[in-house]
């Protein structure tokens, strides 16, 4: 055999082995990520009385949707909470985008006085966990007084707790779920945008605001998409702001967290046993109902995710978080 041939064979071998290793890594990692979901499937479709039976682990003997019915009845009602939660998350995400985008535009584009200080404050608010401010936030919301303005106007403070607009108010002033990070993303993006566009707009007689809405914002689609996805997912899954500042609201994340809290195991088991006539249901049935609920809860997220996933990466690339 010629030495050239040998080399070609060796190269080929190397490539095959490398490819094999590579794909096994990809598949392995993918499996590890998906495993919690895969594990759900046999549990939620299983007959409730078969749960806990060591003979039935991966393939249900009797197919049943009782855990879904139980989950629907316990947490989702007629499906309205899902719509309400999705709507809420969308509105909050919209507010967050708007506020973060204008703040980010200003921080990335305009050299106003104290810009570096404000940028530092944005980063500071990002690293400080909101939980550490919970107590005094809670107390100040109880007797909300916007720097004395409220007292001057109505002669008293207002109670912001458990009001539907409280969360919108927080987002409107830039302190919703991880909003400092969104401001930072927008800032990085606008900083990297070419200046010429704005200059052209200015020469053509656009005012500052018109330039922003006509030139800045339409060019920021990648950043907007990125922030929109993250903001939507995080607001949909938020239990902190909803739980403390509007606990009676129709938020699915919160409802699931409280309904399926470990303290409720016996109530839910009792309910399942009597509703669906399965006296043999054990604590595994509670888990099954819980996981079925998780499944339904994830559905809207997964649907949106599959619609946008093609664009999510390219948008993130261009969104300038990198800079």
């Amino acid at each position: 055999m010629l030495p050239n041939d040998m080399r070609a064979v060796r190269e080929k071998m190397k490539k095959t082995i490398f490819g094999l290793l590579f794909f096994s890594l990809i598949i392995g990692m993918g499996f590890a990520i998906l495993y919690p979901l895969i594990k759900l499937a046999p549990v939620v479709f299983n007959n409730l009385e078969d749960l806990g039976n060591p003979d039935v682990i991966w393939v249900p003997e009797q197919f049943s949707t009782v855990s879904f019915q139980a989950a629907m009845r316990l947490a989702f009602g007629n499906g309205m909470p899902i719509l309400q939660s999705v709507g809420f998350a969308a509105v909050i995400a919209f507010i967050q985008i708007f506020v973060s985008a204008i703040a980010g535009y200003s921080l990335g584009r305009v050299d106003f006085w104290g810009k570096h200080l404000v940028l530092f404050l944005v980063i500071l608010t990002f690293v400080v966990p909101p939980q550490s401010l919970l107590i005094s936030q809670y107390l100040s919301f109880k007797h909300f007084d916007m720097m004395g303005i409220m007292t001057a106007m109505n002669g008293g403070t207002i109670d912001l707790l458990n009001k539907p607009y409280t969360l919108y108010l927080i987002a409107l002033f830039g302190f919703g779920v991880k909003q400092s990070m969104f401001v930072f993303i927008f800032r990085q993006f606008f900083k990297g945008l070419p200046k010429e566009l704005e200059e052209a707009a200015y020469i053509d007689g656009c005012s500052f605001y018109k330039t922003y809405f006509r030139v800045g914002l339409p060019n920021a689609v990648p950043a907007i998409m990125t922030v929109a996805i993250l903001a939507f997912v995080w607001n949909y899954g938020d239990t902190y702001y909803t739980g403390y500042f509007h606990p009676d609201g129709p938020y699915l994340s919160l409802k699931l967290a409280t309904t399926f809290a470990p303290a409720n195991v016996n109530h839910i088991l009792y309910a399942i046993r009597t509703w669906y006539d399965v006296p043999g249901a054990t604590t595994f049935a509670f888990d099954a109902a819980k996981q079925a609920a998780a499944f339904i809860y994830l559905l809207p997220l997964l649907m949106i995710y599959f619609v946008v996933q093609k664009r999510i990466v390219e948008n993130f690339e261009q969104s300038g978080i990198v800079g």
Binding site: I33, V118, L121, P129, I135, F284, F306
Partner: protein
């Protein structure tokens, strides 16, 4: 009235301030005021008066002393213990999560058939890592035969045995590795956003750099250490900080704050806990920055 003439530059600055104004108001309302109040409460004994207002009595450092000497958490643990556990946990897990996500990003950055599907799966943790979802998917029941079979835990002993027999690693390292393998699902569920950050970073690297390296005859190993990694230092800083903050958000300390203030009705000690928690985060971040600046040379010009 004389018309005030403002130059274009100054006008622009004023408009700029108008744009950050909502955030600034929020900063005063929802950040600085609560922060100042939290620090104030932590030095006071806060109670509710008969008339409904709040009564504050200055007690100095008593709340802090109580927090570490007298009080216990909702799980009846001492706070010194909780803080040291959480810090250790976060310092061990943060690098692991960051390295995992960097690894994922490198894997899906390679062009191959089915790359789209792989990306879909590798970004799923953004959705699956939500705290609600993790809590819901977690199995609450334990100790049964079937549960052991379907739970997310491997057989620990096997891994340790394997590592001890076939490698020269000491026992402690083996236990650490087997713990990692145990928590791999939990760790992977935290990687979504970081993978996204790293992938964006990887794709922003100029392709010509790789071409030059190839022409100069660098091996792919050298390319990774000499080109990819140094150019990712800024991004890894961001990923590190993000992971760090996220881990602290999900730590058990944050729930204790609520427990103290509203279940035990002890606002003073709860505030003291908040302040300690806050300083803990900031201190750890400083430490992280110090370590990172030693290890990698940060490219400050790009910031």
């Amino acid at each position: 009235m004389a018309k005030i003439r403002v130059s274009y530059k100054n006008m622009r600055k004023i408009h700029g301030i108008v744009f950050v104004l909502p955030w600034l108001i929020g900063f005063i309302l929802f950040f600085i005021t609560p922060l100042a109040n939290t620090i104030k409460y932590s030095f006071h004994n806060v109670g509710v008066a008969d008339t409904g207002g709040m009564v504050q009595k200055y007690v100095g450092l008593q709340n802090y002393i109580d927090l570490f000497k007298v009080e216990v958490s909702s799980q009846s643990k001492q706070f010194l213990r909780i803080f040291s556990d959480e810090n250790l946990n976060i310092f061990v897990n943060t690098p692991v999560i960051v390295v995992f996500s960097l690894f994922c990003a490198i894997l899906i950055n390679v062009k191959f058939k089915g790359q789209g599907l792989a990306r879909v799966i590798f970004f799923l943790p953004i959705v699956l890592g939500l705290k609600v979802v993790v809590d819901l998917i977690m199995v609450t029941t334990g100790g049964d035969v079937a549960d052991a079979a379907v739970s997310e835990r491997f057989d620990n002993g096997m891994i340790i045995d394997f590592l001890l027999t076939y490698t020269f690693l000491p026992l402690k390292v083996s236990i650490f590795i087997s713990d990692l393998a145990n928590n791999v699902f939990l760790l992977l569920s935290q990687t979504g956003v970081q993978t996204l950050i790293f992938l964006a970073g990887l794709q922003s690297i100029n392709k010509s750099l790789y071409e030059v390296a190839k022409i100069e005859g660098a091996s792919s190993y050298e390319v990774f250490w000499k080109i990819t990694l140094p150019l990712m230092s800024n991004i890894s800083l961001f990923a590190f900080i993000y992971t760090f903050v996220d881990m602290f958000l999900k730590s058990s300390i944050s729930t204790e704050v609520y427990y103290f203030a509203f279940n035990k009705n002890n606002i003073g000690v709860g505030s003291a806990l908040s302040v300690v928690y806050l300083f803990n985060v900031l201190l750890d971040l400083l430490l992280l920055l110090l370590i990172l600046s030693r290890v990698v040379k940060l490219n400050h010009a790009a910031k």
